[in-house]
């Protein structure tokens, strides 16, 4: 079984952020493997261990994102491909999906997986766009995967409950970070990753004629902070009563 996992390098949302002249500024060293993609890599590795699968990762991003491919290889992926984009590109979900679709066009695979969204933009569009461009059946927001009777059994979180879906091959699945805790690469894994092959493809060599984004981000602002309100400490009976009454008298919520 051949598994491709699409991964992305993203800024760490836990790191300090600044906005300068409408641009988002962040310490460049705080770029990480998107947590949702890390869960997709982990799940592919679990399937690899149980079913003898081959796991390749593919990343579209600037030169410096190569370190994120190494991270996935150190976790245990067999091979990586880096689609190199120019550093100042305004790629949106659709341009990423187009690049990935062009990459997969002539490849053979059983399943493609990716995170359900990137943790920086939270759009959650690229996975299902890619499925549509490749005309693949797909399932989003997977919270558990297993491989039975020649197809992937996907448990997805829907609005009202969890749906169990059989996804035939070839197919695409997007993963929630609720499905597992991605492994931390071992020292051995890190050493081995240095010898694993990484193929490099320039984005402009993918044969795409129009890579202009369909959406534009025109600026950033800090979210207007909530003013911290009143804080009560003391006897539990008293403070509980006081707050309950305030919710009634001040907010009319009781």
């Amino acid at each position: 079984m051949k598994f491709y996992v699409c991964i992305k390098q993203v800024p760490d949302v836990n790191a300090p952020l600044q906005i300068k002249d409408g641009e988002l500024i962040q310490d460049a060293d705080r770029s990480i493997l998107n947590a949702y993609d890390a869960s997709a890599v982990e799940e592919a590795l679990v399937l690899k261990e149980a079913h003898d699968a081959e796991v390749e990762v593919v990343l579209a991003g600037p030169e410096k994102a190569k370190e994120t491919i190494r991270k996935a290889l150190a976790m245990g992926a067999d091979k990586g491909t880096h689609i190199v984009t120019s550093g100042d590109s305004n790629n949106d979900s659709f341009t990423y999906a187009q690049m990935l679709a062009a990459f997969f066009k002539d490849r053979e695979y059983d399943y493609i997986s990716c995170g359900k969204q990137s943790q920086d933009t939270d759009s959650g569009l690229t996975g299902s766009m890619l499925a549509q461009l490749l005309d693949l059946p797909y399932v989003t927001n997977a919270v558990a995967l297993s491989y039975e009777n020649g197809s992937l059994q996907v448990k997805r979180q829907g609005d009202a409950g969890q749906e169990i879906i059989a996804l035939p091959s070839p197919g695409l699945v997007t993963c929630s970070n609720d499905m597992n805790d991605p492994r931390i690469p071992s020292l051995k894994g890190i050493m081995q990753s240095k010898r694993k092959p990484v193929e490099t493809i320039q984005a402009e060599d993918l044969g795409l004629t129009d890579l202009s984004p369909k959406t534009k981000t025109i600026g950033f602002e800090e979210k207007p902070g909530r003013e911290p309100g009143q804080k009560f400490e003391g006897e539990p009976d008293e403070v509980a009563q006081k707050v309950a009454r305030l919710l009634d008298t001040e907010e009319s919520l009781i």
């Binding site: 800024p11 949302v13 952020l17 988002l24 979900s93 659709f94 999906a97 943790q119 920086d120 933009t121 939270d122 569009l125 996975g127 299902s128 766009m129 499925a131 549509q132 059946p137 797909y138 399932v139 927001n141 979180q157 829907g158 609005d159 009202a160 409950g161 749906e163 169990i164 879906i165 035939p168 197919g171 929630s176 970070n177 609720d178 369909k214 959406t215 534009k216 981000t217 025109i218 602002e221 800090e222 979210k223 902070g225 909530r226 911290p228 309100g229 804080k231 400490e233 539990p236 009976d237 403070v239 509980a240 009563q241 707050v243 309950a244 009454r245 919710l247 907010e251 919520l253 009781i254």
Partner: protein, 324 residues
């Protein structure tokens, strides 16, 4: 004249309030721009919702009714939406942000070769498309975004707009739709319904949310009691849904549901940014936590520093008294 098309999410005979919020916004934008506002229901019993919808002012209602829509399945839904887009030629197709709409937004955009904007907190029309705002970086930052296209597809976070009642006599058009099971590539084998709590979390006016501090059945019982007294939905942080203490569909945060109720009571929740991303737009936030430095207190309107096991019983008692 162009149309703003609102997809109406329904569940068990009820229209989701978040869809009515989006419809109300689209009605307003249509009025201001001289366009028309249309509502679209895709369901196994789509026509059942016409009467409810008439109270919320669309100029037109499109119905696509087929047994296949009894459960959420992405392939037929994308087909039906494509049909509705072809028939109504809209400038905008707007959805409430739900797991159902998130599942198909990207695929529909690729199918229609058009632009899509996910999880908007506000939006307005431009000359050739839409501009608006959406939270990014775990909702710490608001990004201004714009898109051109025909139509522009977008999903809207729940609680972003008010529902405005506005009775109308819309024209109703049913669209012919057929879909054979052979075209379904994926097989839905089973649905595991969310257990217990019947109040839809994303629609609830009040939410009681449990976090790591809620350690045992005694505390979970108090959470249930408080929720029942307030007629509130129950939510939980990721720690508790992962531990299996609460159903995964109750998870609130960047990964789970985004809620914006009138009253949000965070109990034993420290306030990690991933959780706050899912509830920071609540109108009034109450936090109960024994750690005075917990970040949840930075956003809470009313913070109680104390042991939830000692605070909750008198809190529930007092609310009961006030209710009577």
């Amino acid at each position: 004249m162009s149309t703003l098309l609102t997809y109406i999410s329904v569940n068990d005979g009820k229209i989701k309030r978040s869809s009515l919020e989006v419809l109300s916004r689209c009605n307003q934008l249509a009025d201001n721009s001289g366009q028309s506002s249309a509502a679209l229901v895709i369901d196994s019993k789509a026509s059942d919702y016409v009467d409810q919808l008439k109270s919320y002012g669309p100029d037109k209602i499109y119905l696509i009714e087929d047994p296949i829509f009894k459960n959420h399945l992405n392939t037929p839904l994308i087909r039906a939406l494509s049909l509705a887009i072809e028939k109504s030629d809209p400038s905008v197709v707007a959805f409430a942000s739900t797991e159902g709409s998130k599942d198909i937004l990207g695929a529909l955009a690729a199918n229609q070769k058009t632009a899509s904007l996910a999880d908007m907190s506000e939006f307005e029309l431009t000359e050739n498309g839409v501009k608006g705002k959406r939270p990014v970086m775990a909702a710490k930052i608001i990004a201004s975004v714009e898109a051109e296209g025909s139509p522009v597809l977008l999903t809207v976070r729940s609680g972003s707009y008010d529902v405005i009642e506005n009775p109308s006599e819309p024209e109703v058009e049913s669209l012919d739709f057929s879909f054979s099971d052979d075209e379904l590539q994926i097989t839905l084998k089973e649905i595991l319904g969310a257990s217990g709590d019947k109040i839809d979390l994303s629609e609830a006016e009040a939410v009681v949310a449990a976090g790591r501090g809620v350690k045992d059945e005694e505390a979970r019982n108090m959470i249930s009691e408080l929720a029942s007294v307030l007629n509130a939905g129950i939510g939980a942080s990721r720690a508790l849904t992962e531990a299996g203490d609460y159903d995964p569909s109750l998870q609130i945060g960047q990964t789970g549901k985004v809620v914006a109720p009138q009253l949000y009571i965070a109990i034993g929740i420290s306030g990690a940014i991933q959780h706050v991303a899912g509830m920071a737009n609540s109108k009034v936030i109450v936090a109960i936590n024994k750690d005075p430095d917990a970040p949840i207190f930075d956003i809470a309107d009313y913070g109680i520093v104390g042991d939830l096991y000692k605070v909750l019983p008198p809190f529930i008692e007092e609310i009961k008294k006030l209710k009577n």
